[in-house]
């Protein structure tokens, strides 16, 4: 990471910090404050889109670590989000229905089931990560595709295709059952988990993952256990999928296997390609850009359908087409994603007015 002109690192602490200058801190704190005020003036629809973006970013942090940092391409991220959603749904239901002691349902609530959902997805991720110790590239992609189908098959055949309902969380006696209140839950989770993701990639685990991605033979020879670190990438990748999936499920309050269709697993990869693979900011850029773009398109189409009767049926695939087009364009024109453009922009701003 480069510092703005005139800023020098005098200690290792300074060089290791994520945010170095007052401007950087100012921007961060400003952004967080603005994000906290959104429910005061945005309507439920827009807050819902933001919640979707935030939950998606959490899921993408996981995929970014697994695929972007560790180089293990996975199509199964949607299935691990499903593991999270269903784990939390089933635990909540069980805690309500079972003949448990008086105090128990109160403890076995959203704040407990969501972390358990994440850990469960992580553990199952480790299981499905084992083939990655033997398989690479295309073959690993096929193995993760199989993982997706196996997980969804198990869900469909044990739980069924009917909708599974989830409760809204309580906090200090308040029921957080609308977009205004639930938004804060997801926002705080996003901030905390983004910090965790960034910390992981800037310390020994992150370097080990990148080492494996860039040169697994050298990594092994330099003392990095491929077994331990590939599986830890699967654990973290799927943990984030589970947490994001569960947070999203408690917002929609009802899930079916269709929510976790393979298409989403593919889209998640598209998001991080567009945002910037192997960059901590990639998930933010990818999810924000593409979700706003595709939601915007949906708005335009539904607005047009008032004037042009039946246009919706002609444009039903427009979202997928636009999405695919954007991903392909990025792969051709800027394979390093928006995050790279952002870095170039920062470099330009730093050197202004002396562009190089």
């Amino acid at each position: 990471m480069h510092n703005p002109c005139g800023v020098f690192n005098e200690t290792y602490e300074q060089d290791l910090a994520i945010f170095r200058t007052k401007t950087q801190w100012g921007l961060l704190i400003g952004a967080i404050i603005i994000a906290f005020t959104f429910p005061l003036f945005l309507n439920s629809y827009i807050l819902g889109v933001l919640i979707q973006i935030f939950a998606t970013i959490i899921i993408l942090h996981g995929l970014n670590i697994l695929t972007g940092y560790c180089g293990q391409i996975s199509l199964a991220q949607a299935a691990f989000a499903a593991v999270g959603g269903y784990t939390s749904a089933l635990l909540s239901e069980w805690a309500l229905g079972a003949a448990l002691p008086e105090w128990f349902p109160g403890i076995f609530n959203f704040w407990i089931t969501v972390p358990i959902a994440g850990l469960t997805a992580g553990a199952i991720g480790v299981l499905f990560g084992i083939p990655a110790l033997r398989l690479r590239g295309f073959y690993l992609v096929m193995a993760t595709l199989a993982a997706h189908f196996i997980i969804i098959y198990i869900i469909v055949h044990t739980i069924g295709t009917q909708a599974q309902t989830l409760p809204a969380p309580h906090l200090f006696g308040l029921l957080l059952n609308n977009s205004q209140s639930y938004y804060y839950v997801v926002l705080v989770a996003l901030i905390a988990l983004s910090y965790v993701a960034k910390n992981l990639v800037r310390t020994r685990f992150g370097r080990a993952w990148i080492a494996i991605r860039d040169n697994d033979l050298a990594a092994e020879v330099m003392g990095i256990s491929l077994f331990r670190y590939k599986l830890s990438a699967f654990f973290i990748g799927c943990l984030f999928a589970g947490l994001g999936g569960a947070l999203w499920a408690h917002y929609t309050r009802s899930i079916t296997p269709e929510y976790y269709h393979l298409t989403y697993g593919l889209w998640y990869l598209g998001y991080i390609i567009v945002g910037g693979m192997g960059s901590a900011l990639g998930p933010f850029f990818g999810a924000s850009f593409l979700i706003i773009l595709t939601q915007g398109l949906a708005e335009v189409i539904s607005a047009l359908s008032g004037t042009f009767y039946g246009i919706e049926s002609y444009l039903s695939a427009a979202r997928e087409v636009l999405f695919g087009l954007v991903v392909v364009l990025f792969m051709i024109l800027e394979p390093r994603g928006i995050a790279h453009r952002w870095n170039l922009f920062k470099a330009y701003y730093r050197l202004f007015p002396y562009a190089h």
């Binding site: 290792y12 310390t203 092994e220 330099m222 003392g223 256990s225």
Partner: protein, 262 residues
Amino acid sequence: MGTAPASKDVAILEIANLSLSFGGVQALMDISLEVKQGEVLAIIGPNGAGKTSLLNCMNGFYRAQQGDISFQGKGISKMPSHKIAELGIARTFQQIELYTHLSAQDNLMAGRHIHFKSGMLDGALYFGKAHREEIEHRKAVENIIDLFDMEAIRKKVVGFLPYGQRKLVELGRAVVMEPKLLLLDEPMAGMNVEEKEDMARFILDIWELKGTTIVLIEHDMGVVMDIADRIVVLDFGRKIAEGTPQEIQTNPAVISAYLGQE
């Protein structure tokens, strides 16, 4: 426990009757040799003699079909490479094998891997232990950056560095691991005279400052004669000679292997 004085009589690595073949190609045939504590041992021989294969066996990268290797008395023939690294064997490769997307500094930080103790949770939260470790290991990395004059390239992504500098980063990544035994596969190949001199100086610096035992594959006989304590000569997978530089220079088997005479 104090560190034992570097004695050149104690073997740090022992290889006994090692044989390795690839299909029909016999890369190594019944090789036995000892690497002594604190020495610089050069392995020389024509192309395809099996030098790289021998190094690859030493750190578990290749598995010999026959024979044993022990490091400080411990059998390592069946040990995975990353465990061998933890015991204290580091290496560089003939074809540079760096973490191409990381900066020079981060390549070295990754080289410190085996010395890190903090777990995943420490890293995730970053408070305390993980943070202290980052700083502590940065100091070790900084020493090597100083020693190898890498100040100017520390933040550069290594994939874009010129060949000579990548070779240097790779050496740095191995040295920062603080190995007891350092294996170098043609560290000066493809370099100009000036770069070779720098590299030879750095290798001797490491040997002097850290007392690291070094096994070195090198083609430049001038360099080998200058820095090696002993030389092992391979030809067609066999060890044909072993001795001091003077002994090797006058050894008839070596002369014939190199000059192709009978």
